[in-house]
Amino acid sequence: MAPRIRPFGDHALLVEVEETAEALDLALWAREQGLADDVVPATRTVLLDGVPDLAATCDQLATWRPGAAPAPGPLVEVPLRYDGPDLAAVARGWGMAPDEAVARHTGADHVVAFCGFAPGFPYLTSDLALPDVPRLDSPRARVEPGSVGLAGPFTGIYPGASPGGWQLIGHTDEVLWDSTRAKPALLPPGTRVRFVAR
């Protein structure tokens, strides 16, 4: 189905699609086509910001179809200690023992659908067909950098210390964000991820 396009100010378009995977697909495609200064995917929308000619870009967007994205992104292995304070609660919600929850999470193929909340914070979707994970009723005042959490259908990793309401299942020593690196985000949108228990 062709995407639904709404103007978002005088220099931007907001494109609505059916699902998160389509948003990523469209964003990667639009980035490759050079349609805008900033191409920002989210849950079910993609922003094209810094568009010189809104009408011409609408015409180009109408040619997109799901699956038009370029080749799959790079695969990154993220070593992870599954020792988070909420692992038991998450496993209970999934109706299984913590060991099995870890096996399911490490066995799944994850992909970074989009980034947000903080620079380099990835929202990963996966092929896990498991119940959504509720956010904590009361967010923690401080979550340590490298904490890996679940919320809704997403896995996320905190690049820096911050307050946070995601249920924490573990921790990685990988540096998610370093603005002095050539590629500051370890896991930009489109990156495929396997979590490796250690």
């Binding site: 709404r6 103007p7 978002f8 100010g9 005088d10 220099h11 931007a12 907001l14 964003a27 980035r31 200064d37 900033d38 191409v39 920002v40 995917p41 989210a42 849950t43 079910r44 929308t45 993609v46 922003l47 910001d49 810094g50 989009f114 980034c115 947000g116 909340f117 903080a118 620079p119 380099g120 914070f121 603005s179 002095t180 500051p184 985000a185 930009p188 949108p189």
Partner: protein, 283 residues
């Protein structure tokens, strides 16, 4: 050549055109809130428009010079002195080595801009010298004792006869992507009410107080990307105009978007100042 900060003020930062192209990584754009004022300051001292300037907040900044510099202060009108002597706002001014340049408190408006010939040459981060105050990407905010490198002057120092910016003009808006989440009268309310700038306003957003903008749809909007100038309406019904350091995504519906050319007015709205909106002419 360096400028040493002798008084940092409430919030003084380096700003340029902003950090474009990194929003998909969760990086706010940042950049001078009052772009026309920053551009004018740069022109007065012969800088290219992308040169970094210092943006102050309400109470100015003070700097000590280690070499001779031309500079200019624009934006919110304020007293400016060099070695204790009053100099002009909005004109190129010479400061000899060893003098203190003081940008005083804003008489009205919020943000003044100091450009130095050659530009503030702090190390760029991801292609920009702008400080983002949401995630603190970019150079750190100014603190007393900080030394700011200055670039090599390149252009012509010249006064410019520029009319002062018009104040109190209604912000032109076009319909936002989620106007259909609001009650039918909400658009009219937005464009006819007199809003007041809130005290919690900052570089992230201009918070406004006034009649509640009622929604017709309840429930949660899936988080979606935001743009500069988006007028987002949280459950309180009190709108927030997103400014340069806005988060890249947001979960509340956007009723309207302020035209880019009008955003500089938001930069200068003090708490309590009146703010009004008007539908942008089509075309």
């Amino acid at each position: 050549m360096t400028l040493t900060v002798t008084r940092a003020g409430a919030l003084s930062t380096c700003q340029d055109l902003g950090r474009i192209g990194h929003a998909h990584l969760g990086v706010p754009r940042a950049g001078a809130l009052d772009q026309p004022a920053a551009a004018l300051a740069n022109r007065l001292v012969g800088n290219p428009r992308e040169a970094a300037v210092i943006e102050t907040t309400l109470d100015g900044v003070a700097l000590h010079t280690s070499a001779d510099h031309w500079f200019a202060v624009t934006g919110a009108p304020c007293p400016v002195t060099v070695a204790g002597r009053a100099v002009a706002h909005g004109e190129p001014v010479f400061a000899p080595a060893g003098s203190e340049v003081v940008v005083g408190a804003a008489l009205r408006g919020v943000r003044s801009y100091l450009a130095v010939a050659g530009g503030v040459a702090v190390a760029p981060v991801l292609g920009s010298r702008s400080t983002d105050t949401l995630a603190w990407v970019g150079p750190p905010r100014l603190v007393v004792g900080m030394e700011l490198a200055v670039g090599t002057p390149s252009g012509e120092i010249r006064p410019l006869d520029v009319p002062p910016p018009v104040r109190g003009r209604a912000l032109r808006v076009i319909a936002g992507p989620r106007l259909d989440w609001f009650a039918p009268e909400a658009w009219r309310t937005l464009c006819t009410a007199t809003w007041r700038a809130g005290a919690e306003s900052n570089r992230i957003g201009l918070r406004l107080g006034g009649p509640a903008l009622e929604r017709s749809r309840t429930g949660e909007l899936a988080s979606e990307p935001m743009v500069l100038g988006a007028v987002q309406v949280p459950p309180s019904g009190q709108p927030v105009v997103f400014l340069a350091d806005h988060p890249v995504t947001g979960g509340y519906p956007v009723i309207a978007v302020v035209l880019a050319d009008d955003l500089h007015h938001c930069a200068q709205a003090r708490p309590g100042d009146e703010v009004t909106f008007t539908p942008a002419p089509r075309g």
